[in-house]
C-alpha cells in the first residue's frame, strides 16, 4: 500500500441518495471510514443498509452523491473500484453445484489473477480459514458456518484493501460466530484490511468494531466510536443504546447531532 493510499479514507461517501419511485431509501448519506478500521453500519430492518451496500459495491447506481473507494470514484471507474474491495452478501452467493476449490478458482478468473498464482492464493486463504480439508467438498454439502468462511476466504483472494460484510454471522451458531470473528480479527491484524459490516448482533459489534454509524429511514442518526455512542445514550451496552436511539420516542424528542469520533 502506498503512502498516498494510506492517507486516503478507505471509503468516502458524500451526500448519497437512492430513491425507489417516490420513496427515498437512502437520504443524503455522508460517511468517511479510515483504512484499517472495522466500521459497523447499524440500523433496523428496512433502514437502508443493504441498499447502501449495493451502491457501495456498484450493484446499484446512486441517484445523487459520490462514492470514493480508496480514492477511486465508483461512478467514473467502477471496474477499477471493484478491484479494491471484496464483498460477502447477506445471502450465500457461492455456486452450490461446484466444489469449494472450483468456486475459488472462478473468483480468481473473474478477478484476473494470473493462473500461476491461483493455486498459491487459494491454498493461502484455505489455510487462513481452516478450510484446507474442505477443498474438494461440494458447497451444497457444507454447513452454514463453513459456507460463510468459504465466502469470506473467496472475497480475500484478490487481496482487497476493503471488505464488505453484510450480516456475516446471520444464522450461525455461537461457536461458528466466534470462529468467524477470530478469523476476521486475525485478517485485520495481519493484512490491515478495512472491514465494513452490517449486523444485528450488537454484542459482536460492541466487541469488534472501532466505529459505528446508526442509520434510520435512510439517514445517519448517530456516528462515532462504540464508547461515545453508549455514553451519549446514557446506557450500558451498544444494544440498549441502539434501541434507545432508534425508538420512536427518541426520534420525535430531538434532532440528534452526529458524535464524531468522540
Amino acid at each position: 500500500m502506498s503512502a498516498h493510499s494510506r492517507r486516503l479514507p478507505a471509503i468516502a461517501v458524500e451526500s448519497l441518495v437512492k430513491r425507489y419511485g417516490a420513496e427515498t431509501v437512502v437520504d443524503g448519506l455522508n460517511v468517511s471510514i479510515a483504512s484499517g478500521e472495522t466500521f459497523a453500519f447499524l440500523g433496523p430492518n428496512g433502514a437502508g443498509k443493504t441498499t447502501t451496500i449495493k451502491m457501495l459495491t456498484t450493484l446499484l447506481p446512486p441517484d445523487e452523491g459520490r462514492i470514493l473507494l480508496n480514492g477511486v470514484d465508483l461512478a467514473k471507474d467502477p471496474m477499477n473500484a471493484r478491484r479494491h474491495f471484496g464483498v460477502v452478501f447477506q445471502d450465500c452467493t457461492l455456486d452450490k453445484t461446484m466444489t469449494v476449490h472450483e468456486n475459488l478458482w472462478m473468483h480468481c478468473a473473474l478477478h484476473r489473477i494470473p493462473r500461476a498464482q491461483r493455486r498459491l492464493r487459494i491454498g493461502d486463504v484455505l489455510a487462513l480459514f481452516d478450510l484446507a480439508d474442505r477443498r474438494d467438498s461440494m458447497v451444497s454439502a457444507l454447513s452454514g458456518g463453513l459456507r460463510r468462511r468459504v465466502e469470506i476466504a473467496r472475497a480475500l483472494l484478490h487481496h482487497p484493501a476493503l471488505i464488505f460484510l453484510d450480516e456475516p454471522t446471520l444464522g450461525l451458531d455461537p461457536k461458528s460466530r466466534r470462529i468467524l470473528w477470530a478469523h476476521l480479527q486475525h485478517l485485520q491484524k495481519e493484512c490491515g484490511t478495512t472491514i465494513f459490516l452490517t449486523s444485528h448482533y450488537l454484542d459482536e459489534v460492541e466487541r469488534f468494531a472501532h466505529n459505528v454509524a446508526v442509520i434510520q429511514k435512510g439517514r445517519i442518526i448517530m456516528q462515532g466510536t462504540v464508547d461515545s455512542i453508549i455514553r451519549y445514550a446514557e446506557k450500558t451496552t451498544l444494544e440498549d443504546s441502539f434501541l434507545f436511539l432508534t425508538s420512536e420516542e427518541t426520534q420525535t424528542k430531538e434532532d440528534r447531532a452526529v458524535v464524531a469520533g468522540a
Binding site: M79, F85, L94, D95, M98
Partner: protein, 249 residues
C-alpha cells in the same frame, strides 16, 4: 478474457453433467417425441407419399431438443439472480458482456452436446452414414440455433422475476415455436398463414438446414438460412445484452 469465458462456459457444462436427472431428461425427451409422434404420424406420412417419417422427424426433434434445452436454461439465470451467484459475477471487474457471453456459450454447448448425442443415436438407428461435409453443415445449423435460443433464454432469465411461473410462461412461448418450425410436418402445401408464421421463426431455418444437410433436400437455400440465423443470433445477443445489463440484484 478467454479465461473468464472458459470458466463461465465450464460452469454451465459441469452444472449440466452433475445434474443427472437433467442429463437423462435432456436425452430422453427427444426420443419420447420421436416415438410418440413417429408412431402416430408415420403411416399417414407414408400414405401421402412423403417417405419415411422418422427420417423426416429426426432433425426436427434434434432442433426441438436444442430449443427446449437452451431456452429453459434461462431458469438457471433466474435462479442465480434469486439465490445469489449472479452478484459474485456482477461485482467482479469484468464487463457484463463477457459474463453473458460465457454463460450463453456454455448453454449453447450443453444444447449442442445433447443434439450430437441424439443425432448419433438417430443415425445409428436409421443406419445412415453422412459424409464429413454433411455433418459439418448440420452442426453449423445446430450451433446457430443453440446460440440464438441460449441468448433468448438469457433474455427471459434477465427480465422475468418469478421462478415458479418461468416454466409455464416459457412453455407458452416455446411450444408454438416448435410446432411452427417444420419440425413435425412439412411446410410445403401448408396455408399461407402457417408458412408466413413458420418463416418468421428462426428455428425453421435451423431445422430445414439440418434436414437438408443430411438429406440433400432444402426448402430454403442453405446460404439464405445461414444468413437469417446469423442475423437472428446477432439480434438475440444484442437484446440479451440489453436485458442482462439492466439486472439489478
Amino acid at each position: 478474457m478467454i479465461d473468464i469465458l472458459y470458466c463461465l462456459w465450464l460452469r454451465q457444462i459441469r452444472s449440466f453433467l452433475r445434474a443427472r436427472g437433467r442429463v437423462v431428461s435432456a436425452l430422453a425427451q427427444p426420443f419420447l417425441f420421436l416415438i410418440a409422434l413417429g408412431l402416430g404420424f408415420a403411416p399417414i406420412f407414408r400414405k401421402a407419399g412423403e417417405g419415411n417419417y422418422f427420417v423426416f422427424l429426426a432433425p426436427g426433434v434434434i432442433g426441438a431438443g436444442i430449443l427446449f434445452n437452451a431456452v429453459y436454461s434461462g431458469s438457471d439465470l433466474l435462479w442465480d439472480r434469486q439465490f445469489g451467484f449472479i452478484k459474485e459475477t456482477l461485482v467482479a471487474p469484468v464487463s457484463r458482456v463477457w459474463i453473458l457471453l460465457g454463460r450463453a456459450l456454455g448453454v449453447a454447448s450443453v444444447a449442442l452436446i445433447q443434439a450430437v448425442l441424439v443425432g448419433l443415436l438417430c443415425l445409428a438407428a436409421g443406419r445412415v452414414l453422412p459424409d464429413a461435409g454433411q455433418i459439418g453443415l448440420a452442426l453449423l445449423f445446430a450451433l446457430l440455433i443453440a446460440l440464438i435460443f441460449a441468448f433468448f433464454g438469457s433474455i427471459l432469465g434477465s427480465v422475468m422475476s418469478d421462478a415458479q411461473s418461468f416454466s409455464q410462461i416459457v412453455s407458452f412461448i416455446v411450444t408454438p415455436l416448435f410446432y411452427l418450425s417444420g419440425a413435425v410436418f412439412p411446410l410445403e402445401g401448408q396455408t399461407t398463414l402457417v408458412r408466413v408464421l413458420a418463416f418468421c421463426n428462426p428455428l425453421t431455418y435451423g431445422i430445414d438446414g439440418m434436414r437438408g444437410a443430411l438429406s440433400g433436400r432444402f426448402v430454403v437455400a442453405p446460404s439464405l438460412s445461414l444468413l437469417v440465423l446469423a442475423v437472428s443470433a446477432i439480434l438475440s445477443a444484442g437484446f440479451a445484452q440489453l436485458a442482462f445489463s439492466r439486472i439489478r440484484p
